[in-house]
Symmetry: C2
Subunit: 210 residues, 2 copies
DNA sequence: TCCAATTAGATAGCCCGACTATCTAATAGT
DNA sequence: ACTATTAGATAGTCGGGCTATCTAATTGGA
């Protein structure tokens, strides 16, 4: 299909599609002449993935770029892709790693992970993510105790087990990869939305019982 | 304290503090003269809250503004503040509410909420948030079935019950309010981080068992 | 008392991310 | 032959979140 058709079908302006090609999010079409290229369904799929990551996952272009690079890298086995996506997601804002606050928080995180026996790489960015939250809570005078953490841990294990359980659904890599990435980013949103609704509901039940 | 001291203690540049005052995130100091104002510990606390929301919660200034406005509004009872914060958080990107895709997704969401018997307002932005994720998943050819949703629902209820249970810790409004907001935003990050780590761990256990 | 330092308040500037617009050849289709 | 379309390059825009500068007033120390 022509780029104008790709634009129509995806709902994105031609210029935006060109921009994504420039940024390496989308492979360029097969050139049929100096000023002509042919696009196919895979381009359309990729655009849908990009938009999902951007609009729902709220990921910056740079993160999307890393993710699709991993998706396109045939050398990365499917079960590693999930981890790669984690790294691409990382902590959004670079944490200030200096100071005793950070030191202590990071040690707390490592202790929790060890305690749980979780197999998480020592330099996983998710550790920083958690430590960042710990630091902020502590600065607000709301230090975390393990008992507060327990429901979150339980919830995390609950969904993670389920997610990993349904990873190997097919052997079409493109599809499997999309499922993995979508699971990571989109179901994170699902979880967040459900938690907020459950909160509102529990709160309403608790207080507005009239 | 002087603004320079506030700057030192918070670690933020004076200009940034002034900017926050201009944007209404921080009340201005008590003027002692035309070019002098006095700041106190509450300003420092507020700055810490702002930074936590910005750096860990990754909220835009506009959302922080809504939240602190609710915090400052003495007319809002504590148990409503949580809901107010939800609204301020909202869906980050305005969803395209047109089209049958959206219609269907929104109906699915409403059906789920009704099915669960959750008390969630019909116009709660969290419904849109979830619908947005549903639309994206459907467009990627990964439609949601209720059985997939169940672990997430369970996890959401688990943490929400715990959170609402520990809401009324004290009667110092300022503190209680901070706890409520922090619970909402910061523990969301905690949950996300834990889920990602649990995923990595479960994945490692499943595949790297050598 | 005088002067360097500080500050409130206002205005303008900067940087980054994510597009969007324009321009130039070079075709394609009619 | 002529109009529409396109690849590729370059430049411009816009919003968000700060920074920098400037003015006039005031303070606090030598």
């Amino acid at each position: 299909m022509k780029i104008s058709e790709l634009s129509d079908r995806s709902g994105l302006p031609v210029q935006t599609i060109k921009y994504y090609i420039r940024e390496g999010l989308l492979p360029k079409g097969a050139a049929t002449a100096a000023t002509r290229a042919e696009y196919d369904g895979r381009h359309l799929d990729r655009l849908r993935l990009i938009r999902a990551l951007r609009e729902v996952g709220d990921l910056p272009i740079a993160s999307v770029q890393q993710i699709v690079a991993a998706v396109d890298d045939e050398d990365i086995p499917l079960h590693q892709l999930l981890g790669t996506a984690q790294y691409a997601l990382g902590p959004r804002a670079e944490p200030h790693r200096e100071g005793p606050d950070w030191q202590a928080a990071r040690e707390d995180v490592d202790a929790v992970v060890a305690e749980l026996g979780w197999q998480v790489l020592p330099d996983a960015p998710t550790r920083d993510l958690l430590a960042q939250a710990f630091v902020a809570l502590r600065r607000l005078g709301l230090p975390i105790v393990l008992s507060d953490l327990r429901p979150y841990i339980q919830a995390a294990e609950l969904v993670a087990d389920h997610e990993v359980g349904r990873l190997l659904v097919g052997d079409d890599r493109e599809k499997a990869v999309q499922t993995a990435v979508a699971t990571n980013v989109l179901y994170e949103r699902v979880l967040i939305a459900l938690r907020r609704m459950a909160q509102e509901s529990a709160s309403a039940r608790r207080f507005d019982d009239g």
